[in-house]
């Protein structure tokens, strides 16, 4: 009798222990949990999250705007003193501050653009890349990307051109001759890489130096660091509706890197531009939701030689320039 009661007791303790461990394991994600019928929660307005950011957290102010008068702007890049802007069926090269520019005409609107240290201009068009000389002459059309490609970002180094493809959820590594040399960020569950989770056409990348790529994994609200052979080196993730994190399912939408390794990020849903330390902690806010039109999705970010933050605002149809206060 005593033995069977002890057995029951141990069995209970074992089950309770397992339940505790299982509960701990699935604390953040409970794929196996049954849908809980939500109680009648009061209706909430999402506008409540568009609260103004406390002024002391905003470390930048807008100092200038370059109005484009383009219908649809898609990308900006800075190389040396030049600002490059893609929109409608053209790429503009602003060779000095102001409104004077030279124009490269395109057969179709570019979905992404980058400029290499040598001044070559790389424009992405959904499933292929075109290369233009520093003077704006078309010098190459590269090998088509297979599948349902959607090029959303290009990072151009001295030896490699990296192309972010939201359709195939991969970063393609091209050689300068236009040949595909590798794939970065592939899903490999056995190796612990879940791959890029990309719900929409927001998938941005930036080169930290010649061999290190940062990529946004927007569905994971994470920034991930890859070597160019495709291996993930590190990552950070900040999930929060508060100003120090990212929320929703496609954020951050854009990324740029400051010379000290800090990240400039743009978000949708709660439109804002922020700077995060290399650790991921919030350093400062560049612009908050009250500085953007309702529902705007920032089109791109760049940093110029003066370390001003350039924000391509599709509602204003302008490059908005922010400087540290």
């Amino acid at each position: 009798m005593q033995t069977s009661s002890n057995l029951a007791k141990y069995a209970f303790i074992a089950v309770a222990g397992l339940a505790f461990v299982a509960g701990f394991f699935f604390k953040d994600n409970k794929p196996g949990r049954e849908n809980t019928p939500a109680q009648q929660t009061p209706l909430i307005s999402l506008d409540q999250y568009l609260v103004p950011i406390p002024p002391e957290l905003i470390g930048y102010q807008e100092i200038d705007q370059i109005e484009t008068e383009l219908e649809k702007v898609s990308a900006i890049a800075v190389q040396g003193a030049n600002l490059y802007l893609a929109g409608d069926r053209e790429i503009r090269i602003y060779r000095s501050a102001g409104s004077e520019f030279t124009r490269i005409e395109l057969a179709q609107p570019a979905t992404a653009m980058a400029v290499s240290p040598a001044g070559q201009i790389y424009a992405g068009f959904y499933n292929h890349v075109q290369v233009f000389s520093p003077a704006g002459k078309l010098v190459g059309t590269w090998e088509l990307i297979p599948g349902e490609a959607h090029i959303t970002s290009i990072a151009a180094g001295e030896k490699d051109i990296l192309v972010a493809d939201a359709g195939n959820r991969i970063v393609w590594r091209y050689q300068l001759n236009g040949k595909i040399a590798g794939r970065i960020g592939e899903r490999n569950v056995d190796a612990g890489q879940l791959g890029f989770v990309i719900p929409g056409p927001f998938f941005d990348i930036a080169l930290a130096d010649e061999d290190v790529l940062w990529a946004v994994n927007p569905g994971m609200l994470a920034l991930q660091n890859y070597s160019l052979d495709g291996k993930m080196r590190s990552s950070w993730q900040k999930i929060s509706v508060d100003v120090d994190g990212f929320c929703g399912c496609c954020n951050p939408t854009h990324l740029a890197l400051l010379p000290d390794g800090a990240f400039v990020t743009a978000e949708k849903g709660i439109p804002r531009v922020k700077i995060h330390e290399p650790s991921g902690d919030l350093r400062t806010v560049v612009a908050g939701p009250k500085q953007f039109a309702d529902g705007v999705v920032i089109a791109d970010l760049a940093i110029n030689a003066q370390q001003h933050i350039l924000v391509l605002d599709p509602a204003a149809k302008a490059v908005r320039i922010f400087a540290q206060k």
């Binding site: 794929p31 196996g32 999250y49 719900p199 954020n251 529902g295």
Partner: protein
Amino acid sequence: MNDKQNKVKRRDFFRDSLRTLLALALGGSAGIATRKLIAKDLVWQLDPHKCVQCDLCATECVLDLSAVKCVHAHDMCGHCTLCGGFHRPDAVTFDTAAENQLCPTGAIKRNFIENPYYSYTIVEEKCIGCAKCVKGCSSFGNGSLYMQVRHDRCLNCNECAIAIACPAEAFQRVPSSQPYILKGKQAQA
């Protein structure tokens, strides 16, 4: 329910999506067939590209439970773990706990597909048409959740009460042979 039971196989999931699509089509024609249409060949529908997710669809319909429901373009959906339409932006954990859900009636069913992907399905009987999830999905996600007048419920009033109130002027009359304004691959079909 354990992981295995709850997990939706990809094939099953896409079959379910197809079933939803067919249900939309059949619901439309059956509903229309059983009612005397006031304007013979036209029915009310809202254009999801104009809708600003104000929540008047929930409150202005002459029916106690609105004829406007959320529908899901599964082929557009990112199947995210962190779903802007399912989770409140300030959700503490990204699970199915009631306090983390945006939907006030628990009308969105979430099922695990494979790490880190989930499916989200609307349980129409529970949907009150408040558009909270649609606003969340449009703002934070990719807009795969959207509102539609469901013709198995709509009375096809002479003057749609929501159409009068709609701030986006999203309501219009459409041919009863094509009673939905769909998104995703369904729109191209």
